[in-house]
Every structure is written in structure tokens, then in C-alpha cells.
Symmetry: C3
Subunit: 132 residues, 3 copies
């Protein structure tokens, strides 16, 4: 129960709600929780609105004001992506979401998104479903 | 297993520990985990101290210095609440907490709080309990 | 299923991946999820790289630029550690991680770390394992 997501930009939020709901439907699990986990130290999982895609742009601009891409980071001497590591540590690699009626129990304006802070890259998402 | 919480201000932290512990006690589950999930894209779940209520004021002031309420966000042209969406994406809509002795295994200074960044509103909290 | 971790500095990231994997191995659980929870309001759990230890230094410097140690916080009049509470609320006290093959399913560059923002202190970490 894992899938791959390819980002096409340096920093990007990619909706993965559909892939997760497909896995839940195929599992036959009706209620419980779904753990969504990205196995990378320069990416993360975010839940928010993307019906207005400008929210994703606003988020990326805001996080870059908070954690600038470069800021005399020590790790930049080795790999030049310290900013992406710090954003990933702050956002976190996972979210755990309730399952009801064989799908994610999201609010009307919530989508699950992979946040890539060091793309473009292929990223692995691990899904674990637990019945309650 | 859900309940509603009404905020009375634009930005507010509201303690929901008691409601969650009531649900756990009624379930009869002695050990496991409890997933607390808010189904809104301008709110979040925070765990911290509120015995000194000034910590909540300090937190709200600090998060507003990090993510100002308005900052030429694109989404503000449509709905004027982009700052609340960005804070919600950063904080996250859920926490997963151990259950021991039929209640949340919190530290002495930890309470579970709903963070509303776009109140006053009625918010829905979904609780899922999993036995270990 | 809990263990203690002692920090030696005011702010420090301490790798706890080995202790968690030992608990999983002893449990005999092959697949599922692992909830890692710290019961303190001035600490948190972070997942990121520490193979280059400079990433931990970069992270601590960055979070202190975002949330300065002192900034006229109201709680500082009582306990002088409001900055640590705000960082803890932002980072969160827990992470939930998939288990595969009787160990944490981390990426190559991911380690689980306890973040102490108000050390040196002894901190308690609670581990809950759930089979899928």
C-alpha cells in the first residue's frame, strides 16, 4: 500500500486525496484511521484547501518568508538544500485521518497534499489503514 | 463520536480535553490511541499548557508575527482569510495521543486545544479510538 | 512501553530511532503503525536527517529566528520559558509512523528525534504500537 508522486517544480503542493481514497475503497475498511506517510526528509504532508489554487501559492510564499531558501545554513555547504530540510521538519512527514463510510472523513475544504520542498523528484507515499 | 465546539473570537484556543476523555471513558477502551481531527481548513489541533492562559495569548501573538493576518495573499481577493488557511496548514488538523487507564496519557502540563484561526465559528471535532 | 531521554543543553535534537525499533522488535508486530508521544509542553517530536548533524543546528537556529527565545511573552513573567512552549505547540508532541518488517518504515534520510526546547531535562517518551 504505497504509491509514487512526481513533482515538477522546486516547491509544489500535489493533491493525493484520490489515490488515498482508492486504496481505502479497495481495502473494504469502513471506519478507522488512515496514516499517510512520506519517506523523505525534504517533503511533508499538508491538509488544506486547494479549490482555490492560490492558497497553495500563498502557503509556499509564506513558508519561504518564514524559512528562507538560503540563510547561511551550515548544511548548504554539503547539499545546498537545508531550507527544504527545515521546512520538512516543521511540517512533518505524516497526517493521520479518520475513515468513515469507506473514505477519508475530510471537511468540505480539506484535501491531502504532498508538499515537495526540494523537487522536482519522485516521492514515495506509504498508506497504513487501521480498523477501529 | 464527534462533537461541536463554538469559538467566540477571530483567533482562539479552546480546551477540548474533557470532551475527549468523556468519549474514551464511555467507550471502555483502556489502552490504545486516540485520533483527534478537526474537519476545517482554517482551524487546527494544538497540545500545550493552558494552566497559565497567557501561553495561549503568547502563542496567538507569535503565530501572527510568523504568518501575518494579511500580507498581499492572493486568496484574500476571494475570501480574505488566507492567513487562517496558512496557519491551519502549518499547525495541522489532527493529533494522535496515547490512551492509558481509560484516558488520554497527557503530561501534567498538556491539554488538547482546538485552535480557531477564522472564528467565531462552530467547528466539528471527530474522535477515533483504536485499541492496541 | 515508555523510555526516558536526558537532554544536556537548553535546545537539542536527540535521536530516539534505535530505542523505538527495539520496542517494535520485542513486540513481534510486523506491520502497523507506531505512535511516538512526548508528555511535555516544552518538547516535541521531529523526523528529519541527522547524518549531517549540521541539519540539527540549522533547524534550531531557524526555529529561534521564527520564534525568538524571548519576545515580551506574558508567560515569561511567571516561568521564563514561553518561547519553548510556543515551539512545542508548533512542532507537536507526536508523530505516527508506519511499521513494516518489524521496524519503522523510515526513508533513508529520516530519523526520529526528540526536540527539547527547554533543557537540560529528563523527558518521557510513550510508544504505542497498533497492528494493521
Amino acid at each position: 500500500m504505497e504509491f509514487r508522486v512526481s513533482s515538477t517544480k522546486k516547491q509544489e503542493l500535489i493533491d493525493i486525496t484520490g489515490q488515498i481514497n482508492n486504496i481505502i475503497r479497495d481495502s473494504g475498511i469502513k471506519t478507522g484511521i488512515c496514516n499517510v506517510y512520506v519517506t523523505h526528509a525534504t517533503a511533508g504532508i499538508i491538509i488544506n484547501e486547494n479549490y482555490d489554487p492560490n492558497i497553495c501559492i500563498d502557503f509556499i510564499n509564506a513558508i519561504n518568508r518564514v524559512i528562507p531558501e538560503h540563510n547561511s545554513y551550515l548544511h548548504d555547504r554539503i547539499d545546498n538544500n537545508a531550507g527544504a530540510h527545515i521546512k520538512s521538519a516543521l511540517i512533518g512527514p505524516s497526517e493521520t485521518i479518520p475513515i468513515r463510510n469507506e473514505k477519508l472523513k475530510l471537511g468540505t475544504w480539506q484535501s491531502v497534499m504532498l508538499a515537495d520542498f526540494d523537487g522536482p523528484k519522485e516521492r514515495i507515499v506509504i498508506i497504513t489503514l487501521i480498523k477501529d
